[in-house]
Symmetry: C2
Subunit: 355 residues, 2 copies
Amino acid sequence: MLLEETVEKIGPLDEEAMKTARRRMDSLIKPPGSLGRLEELAVQLAGIQGRTLPEYGRRAVILMAGDHGVVAEGVSAAPREVTYQMLSAFTGGVAGISVLARMAGADLVVVDIGVARPVDIPGVLSLKVREGTGNIAVGPAMTREEAVRALEVGIRVALDTINGGCGLLATGDMGIGNTTPSSAILASLAGIPAEEATGRGTMVNDRVLERKVWAVKEAVRINRPDPGDGIDVVAKVGGLEIAGLAGVILGSASRRVPVVIDGFISGAAAMIACAIKDGAREYIIPSHLSGEKGHRYMLDHLRLRPLLHLDMRLGEGTGAVLAMGIVEAACRIMREMASFDQAGVSDLEGDKLHK
Amino acid sequence: MLLEETVEKIGPLDEEAMKTARRRMDSLIKPPGSLGRLEELAVQLAGIQGRTLPEYGRRAVILMAGDHGVVAEGVSAAPREVTYQMLSAFTGGVAGISVLARMAGADLVVVDIGVARPVDIPGVLSLKVREGTGNIAVGPAMTREEAVRALEVGIRVALDTINGGCGLLATGDMGIGNTTPSSAILASLAGIPAEEATGRGTMVNDRVLERKVWAVKEAVRINRPDPGDGIDVVAKVGGLEIAGLAGVILGSASRRVPVVIDGFISGAAAMIACAIKDGAREYIIPSHLSGEKGHRYMLDHLRLRPLLHLDMRLGEGTGAVLAMGIVEAACRIMREMASFDQAGVSDLEGDKLHK
């Protein structure tokens, strides 16, 4: 119900606001286009928010944590309990995302959507759908009904965060083993061969990488996810945190709030969100190009170009919060720069310009 | 004298601090290397500052403004008076760099080092070496003595800014026509053909571009700058603000303070600084890849990889101050994240890792 309602609310960008935003951008004291992607971003934000001068303000990164049955196949170098152990590091302020969110002035919302043991940690939202997924190399990750519940958890957290006053969201993930289902989603939805879709994750060796490729192939072969049905794909070969983050993206788009996506896992979530509702894409802001091999295929599929090239591959939302500064910069340029007229600066000579 | 003293003070990075920094970085709760270039940057900063935990703190962007005789050849789409007109926009808080420096928490230091008319604007430092350069398509930009004075102006401003409490500098430029001398510097020092070294600047059309290529060729042919002598190159085919910014880089390196360079003009200044003292390179932090055609050759020559890919080509230091957030992020990661031991998180299984 909530999922359907949310998807129905996702409309197109405001063309009128984008037109006036583009006009204002070209009037500012700089050669037209010289602020490059900051200009495009400001115009996109105007279209999302439906106003010429986009606002920045309170922001949050929503970090969804879940476990993965496929770790039984030995696809990760980290023990499964690390998913649980990291929760206290997130809330304690000492994990990578805690540090970078604090710097970005972003609230960190940590959600247990599918950790494989009971979680009772102050500051962690308990919205568990089930204790970890099934092993996708031998069967589905979860039922369709569970996938819908996970999507709706994400939607609800996004809406609550927006209702709490945030106007910019970011996605982050924690889940040992979650590059494997993300590769399976990439293989299913973009038709990328498992060998290309699968990378080294936490930097596993060739033996483990071979095992991952095998698991991705098996996941697709056995479960036969329907590429025309995003819910089917995330239910059969995905993960609980991935479905949750897809919900965050849909919820954010339904409220006309921009959402910055992190790397490979968030990219898989964005693919699911766009498979469910293609128009969600317009509300997504890419952040970095991950060091994880398949990420560039994901961004190509989503027709998004990364802003940062930092070879990061940590997840947690670390790349997304770093890019929040770029989003704020785009808003500020539009709001705070003067026009040629206002500043008394001579305009460029049109006959010398490349059209 | 000041130039020689400064160059002599530029020493190598602190290997011991870099070693302990690398060790600490690998102990933090993340797969080794997973924060990519943030990790490299943190280690570089440790080597620059000579301490395991690099500090971030007050920061400033130094913007040098100067005019160019070569505009007489019709190489720019902007009238020359714009160099002067923009000064009030910088100090008035309404130019691109004003907005982005404010956001980054950076002081904006505006210096008249060579504007082609008297300047008396509160907030602009008057350190003019001469009123604009000569036309490099027909003769030298300035004398060798003037080039040394311009370099020393940059050194002095950098040292004053550092003495005032800043621990991180950035370079910015203003000077109508200054992509032409920057291309001539690139052609001279890296041996890049004028056609490849010269781009559209403020997005000039084919006719003006041809004129620029011609001017770059003439500048090199007539002046015969010595690629083994950075001072000779900047005197003959450079600019006053370019020499000033090269001085800022040398001054910063001499005090073991990292300096973030902006795009094409700052890149030319960095080439000059490194031609004068190769070791200055270790103190430079690249920011963005400019939309200006020759910039990638500059960064290749300097063996620097850009952090941001935003197609910006405004100058003023706009890309450099955006990257200051990345520098702060690198410091904070090193200072504020916990180690596996501290956080009680299980380490990765070594037998599964790629070495």
